[in-house]
């Protein structure tokens, strides 16, 4: 076992030496692995916008032209990452949760290449950093708008996978919808995909048939908005990207992921030698999460309320998970005025009180 590993390391090291020699005098090569197509108009699109920001910021000093779309999470990711590392990439951004184990496995074999894994928690070797955004901060804002805007008092949520990041979003949306509208109920549909327009449209359709008139989504395509557009009175929000083509309604606002500043910072740090392993989790305050333009379909006072909330989250005066809050089963979670700690949030696996249904186990 040990011998095998040594051999593998030696073989890879040799390859790396060649690859390194070939590209030593060239620009720093930064590479991206995407889970969907750039044309998804959501998650992957925004990561690619971040890549373009890197090109804009560094010009000839950085070669950020390498990326791979639609990489399945698992064995294929490991091969793609190895190919990139062999191909001379010096920093590789792996932009989906499912790349966690492959990223760490490949990183162990290429200690000279920096790996940046989005939304994961494993940093097994010194060259792996993780980064994520506090999307739940944006969810608090859209939840507020949802609570104010619903006429049927039924809000629907299209979940992707039941992982903590998504559950944070569901809880944050519900808490803030409930705060402004005590009669609100929320149904969650699990799509088990990050990007599948057909499935997402089906999920939206099912929710609308149940009488839902505000749809929140944690999947990446515009399909739920397209579905909402077919039924008058149903609204939704842009997810990951602005999705401005559905303005002013059904898209009344959006949570926008803004990865550019982080990518520019990390690539810049690698260029000037200040790069260090770290775990980044920034939100509205850090500029990683932005609230897309709130359209005229939303009454002015609701818009003002939502913007004030976003501002208070941004300047740190308000935390979306502030007690008193109970868990779904009625047990106490946060006492009056208590704020959730990052550890609990990062591993969140429970609904707050009032949400119906179970998290798939």
């Amino acid at each position: 076992m040990l011998k095998r590993t040594l051999l593998a390391t030696a073989a890879l090291g040799l390859g790396l030496a060649f690859a390194g020699a070939a590209s030593a005098q060239d620009a720093l090569k930064a590479c991206w692995v995407y889970v969907g197509p750039i044309g998804d108009g959501g998650w992957t699109f925004q990561h690619d916008q971040g890549r373009l920001d890197v090109i804009k910021a560094f010009g000839d000093k950085v070669d950020a032209s390498t990326y791979q779309e639609n990489v399945p999470e698992g064995a294929d990711a490991e091969r793609v990452l190895t190919q990139m590392a062999l191909g001379g990439c010096k920093i590789i951004f792996t932009t989906s949760f499912g790349y966690m184990d492959p990223t760490n496995a490949v990183a162990a074999k290429f200690p000279d290449v920096k790996f940046e894994h989005a939304t994961g928690y494993k940093r097994d070797s010194a060259n792996v950093s993780t980064y994520n955004a506090r999307f739940y901060e944006g969810r608090a804002v859209t939840g507020t708008i949802a609570g104010r805007m619903t006429k049927s008092n039924k809000i629907g949520y299209i979940g992707s996978f039941p992982i903590p990041e998504v559950i944070q979003g569901i809880n944050a949306s519900f808490i803030h919808a409930k705060k402004v509208n005590p009669n609100v109920t929320m149904s969650v549909v699990w799509a088990y995909t990050w990007f599948d327009p057909a499935k997402e449209a089906d999920a939206a359709k099912a929710l609308i048939e149940q009488g839902v008139d505000v749809i929140l989504q944690h999947t990446d395509s515009t399909a739920p908005l397209a579905e909402a557009a077919k039924t008058p009175g149903v609204i939704g929000f842009g997810q990951a990207s602005d999705m401005a083509e559905y303005k002013p309604s059904p898209r009344v606002s959006a949570i926008i992921d803004n990865w550019g500043p982080y990518y520019v910072e990390r690539v810049g740090a690698l260029l000037d030698g200040t790069y260090e392993q770290k775990d980044t989790w920034a939100g509205i305050g850090g500029g990683e999460v932005k609230i897309g333009d709130i359209t005229e379909a939303v009454p002015a006072e609701v818009k003002a309320e939502a913007e004030a909330l976003a501002a208070s989250i941004g300047d740190g005066s308000y935390h979306p998970f502030t007690g008193p809050l109970n868990k779904q089963d009625g047990s106490a979670w946060l006492a009056e005025g208590e704020k959730a700690d990052d550890g609990t949030l990062a591993g969140m696996n429970f609904y707050v009180e009032g949400i119906e249904g179970d998290i798939p186990q």
């Binding site: 791979q68 779309e69 698992g74 294929d76 091969r79 190919q83 928690y121 088990y192 990062a346």
Partner: protein, 360 residues
């Protein structure tokens, strides 16, 4: 005018030549598509077909070719037996998933015990899982005359839901901080399926695929069962007069293909994939159907077809990363391969004739 005339027997020449012609036509049409996309077609074709084998990183990619081809070949050989007998198991993807779940469950149940017997038992459990999943359509067909195509296909979606349940529930890594996904087998030596020789990509699944190819070849050429399978496909009535029991044949063919798909799943989950995750399956079970037909339902042909298919995946990825091709273009390219194969296939059963009298 051209006219198609049915041949009395399929042309041996065209049966062999079809895959080659299809590959050449795919290169031409694909090259045209890449050209339209503004890329140099020769460079793209070279990146897909040449670089993984002989390029700068071939030492790594040749091994990856085996990793990718292994499960395809293993599943496709099993499917081809049924396809030859006219038994259509379309649900290998589901059997692949169930094999992985059964095998992984055995391994995780005894974690962290170290014992040489664990992996063989997991292999048996993997084959059993795939077999059980294939038995459902087989028994429904023999008992109630249901359509095995539909039942086996629908069971893929059931298997996917069970996979999600496993990743989120009963197989979830208890040390995973609430995230879905099982423990990683690569850090559990007794239950893992590592590379046997570093850098070659050879793991037990690839070994099993090669053994299966040889076994299937011998079965079809030398064994009475092989003869019965072929006869049932070509002349079901004659087969019955020959004493072939159609019920037994369905159960047997579905069982073999299910068990092999289950094995593929087990080797994949304990090796290259490493863990049970919600989207562990990436379509090997479906792609294997293409591989089976591309290989003319012949074990040796399937071996080559599996490697070719793996080549288009890995080379396609390289073309996509290095030349900036959209991944959809690569998928279209792979689709063309099947399209041309089926189109050219007409020539093995039909002859093209010039007709003097105009339209027939």
């Amino acid at each position: 005018m051209f006219r198609l005339e049915k041949r009395p027997t399929p042309s041996r020449f065209w049966t062999g030549a079809t895959p080659v012609v299809a590959v050449i036509l795919t290169m031409l049409a694909g090259g045209l598509m890449f050209g339209v996309l503004g890329k140099n077609p020769f460079e793209v074709i070279r990146t897909i077909f040449w670089d993984p084998l002989f390029g700068e990183f071939a030492w790594y990619l040749r091994g990856q070719l085996l990793v990718k081809a292994g499960p395809l070949i293993l599943i496709a050989v099993g499917l081809s037996l049924g396809f030859r007998a006219g038994i259509w198991n379309i649900g290998a993807e589901g059997q692949y998933i169930m094999g992985a779940i059964f095998g992984a469950s055995v391994g995780l149940a005894v974690f962290p015990t170290e014992n040489r017997l664990i992996y063989p038992v997991m292999i048996a459990a993997g084959a059993f899982g795939g077999w059980v999943w294939a038995m459902i359509p087989a028994i429904l067909k023999t008992r109630f005359n249901t359509n095995e195509i539909l039942v086996s296909l629908m069971l893929v979606y059931v298997a996917q839901s069970i996979l999600a349940m496993a990743a989120l529930g009963f197989l979830r890594n208890p040390e995973g901080a609430g995230f879905p996904g099982s423990r990683n087998f690569n850090s559990y030596p007794a239950a893992s399926n590592p590379e046997l020789i570093a850098g070659t990509g050879m793991h037990w699944g690839v070994v099993a695929a090669f053994i299966t190819v040889i076994a299937a070849y011998v079965l079809l050429q030398k064994h009475l069962l092989g003869f019965q399978i072929k006869l049932s496909g070509q002349a079901p009535r004659a087969a019955r007069f020959h004493g072939v029991n159609p019920t037994a044949l369905v159960v047997l063919c579905m069982g073999i293909s299910g068990a092999l798909a289950g094995l593929a799943g087990l080797f994949e989950v304990t090796g290259p994939a490493g863990q049970i995750s919600i989207d562990f399956n990436t379509g090997y079970g479906f792609t294997a159907i293409i591989v089976a037909f591309l290989g003319r339902l012949n074990p040796l042909g399937i071996l080559l077809a599996g490697l070719l298919m793996a080549l288009t995946y890995i080379g396609g990825e390289m073309a996509s990363t290095n030349l900036g091709l959209p991944s959809a273009a690569i998928q279209a390219f792979q689709g063309m391969l099947l399209f041309f194969l089926l189109a050219v296939d007409v020539l093995s059963n039909y002859r093209v004739r010039m007709s003097m009298k105009g339209t027939a």
